[in-house]
Amino acid sequence: MPIEVLLVEDSPGDVRLTREAFKDANKTIHLHVAVDGVEAMAFLRREGAHSHAPRPDLILLDLNLPKMDGREVLTLIKQDDDLKTIPTVILTTSEAEADIVKSYQLQANCYLNKPVQLDAFEALVKSINDFWLTKVKLPQQRQSG
């Protein structure tokens, strides 16, 4: 079964960079992209154009997004009985302590900083793959929303 990852990220440069890094890390990953919080929720709830969207095995969430920001998305995911078991990883450039604390309070599964250097970013994506998509045991049952 392919691995489904939802990347919530508004910068096309970052999306492509993440896509390239995942290609190197694991060819079986399907990377889906939502460019803002509203689209992310539509994808997760299979609304509108996303009615056939798969349930992601992992959500990579940026904090600063247009329309609905990452904190709101995280709040909605963790309030939703069906969605809250999907590991949600914050992937952001913000190093602000307030953002880190807030994210964990909202039940983020972990908080990662986007490294400035390309090598470091690729290494981070590899470790996301090795841990969250390889080693971690998740509930077997894939519920339909």
Binding site: L17, T93, Q117
Partner: protein, 334 residues
């Protein structure tokens, strides 16, 4: 004459007037209370030091004055002469100065915030430039032509240098914006931590680092680690071919101040550069000789100044350098 002008009374109106007529309500009571104490008492307290008061003109307008009392021995006993000076101009200058100080403080904070936000936001687009030029270089090196390889290499180098500059700028501005409160800190433990952080460079260079017992000081621990780390790191880095020898010590420097010194046997510095080396992004060497952006000592200076101290260097080219900085001792040490 002067009093006539100051208070708006004619001379004959003024002579014999009670002092409280020319001083506003409230202040007069204070003076009367003073007068009730023994002359010696009042004199010993107030002679030589001016008392600042509000004065009242004939037309009831007020203005600030300073009264100087001086004793005068006379046949009739102790007399006291009072010299009254109009200090309106000085008072205005004081208010103006306070205002300017406040304004300066605010604009300084704004500038610190600005530097932080600007460098943080610049980092984002730069990350794209740097990442994609690196990707270009990795995937297309040798597949275009020699010119393209050159151009890409310059772009990669420029972007990564700019990233280092911005990271250094951020580190520099964090000292002001993200500093912690000063607390009693063992400078010896902090020094050991700095050496631990530098262990790679220490091993590679074979540096011999010695130190005297170091005192407890009032400091932001993280910043003090950085201070030692930068100074010892520089002492290792700016070396001839020999083995770096570095000695760190601290001596009482009057009151509760400590003067730390970091002495090395490195290249040394010409005296004309003693000030310049502490300025941000100032470097004395070509990049090919010694890497770096020139932020290290600027960070040291900012850290020491944030702690209320000073940093300076004494050196002779070829004879090594000694960096000295002052820090306040911890209260329990006073």
């Amino acid at each position: 004459m002067q009093a006539e002008k100051q208070f708006g009374y004619r001379r004959d109106e003024l002579v014999g007037q009670k002092i409280k007529n020319i001083i506003p309500e409230g202040f007069a009571e204070r003076l009367t209370a003073d007068a009730l104490r023994s002359v010696e008492d009042a004199l010993s307290q107030q002679i030589g030091t001016g008392i600042e008061l509000r004065a009242r003109r004939k037309d009831a307008t007020e203005f600030p004055i300073e009264i100087m009392l001086s004793p005068l021995e006379s046949a009739e006993g102790m007399l006291v002469t009072a010299a009254i000076r109009d200090i309106s101009v000085r008072k205005q200058a004081e208010v103006h100065l306070l205002y300017k100080v406040e304004e300066l403080k605010r604009s300084n904070e704004e500038l610190g915030q600005f530097a932080y936000i600007a460098s943080h936001d610049l980092q984002e687009p730069l990350r794209m430039v740097a990442s994609y030029t690196q990707l270009l270089s990795r995937r297309y090196k040798g597949k275009l032509d020699a010119d393209a390889d050159d151009f890409i290499a310059y772009a990669v180098d420029g972007a990564s240098r700019m990233q280092r500059l911005i990271q250094d700028l951020l580190a520099y501005s964090r000292i002001g914006t993200k500093g912690k409160e000063l607390q009693e800190t063992s400078s010896e433990e902090v020094f050991e931590q700095a050496l631990l952080n530098l262990r790679g460079g220490i091993q590679d260079s074979g540096a011999i680092i010695t130190h005297d017992p170091l005192p407890a000081v009032l400091a932001d621990e993280m910043q003090l680690v950085q201070l030692f780390q930068n100074l010892v790191g520089n002492a290792i880095k700016y070396q001839k071919t020999g083995i770096p020898r570095i000695h760190v010590s601290a001596a009482k420097n009057g009151g509760n101040k400590w003067l730390f010194s970091v002495k090395d046997n490195g290249l040394g510095i010409d005296s004309q550069y003693f000030e310049k080396i502490f300025v941000m992004f100032q470097r004395l060497h070509k990049r090919e000789e010694f890497a770096g952006t020139g932020i290290g000592l600027a960070i040291c200076k900012k850290i020491v100044e944030r702690h209320g101290g000073n940093i300076s260097v004494s050196s002779q080219p070829g004879q090594g350098s000694t960096f000295e900085f002052s820090l306040a001792g911890a209260e329990s040490n006073a």
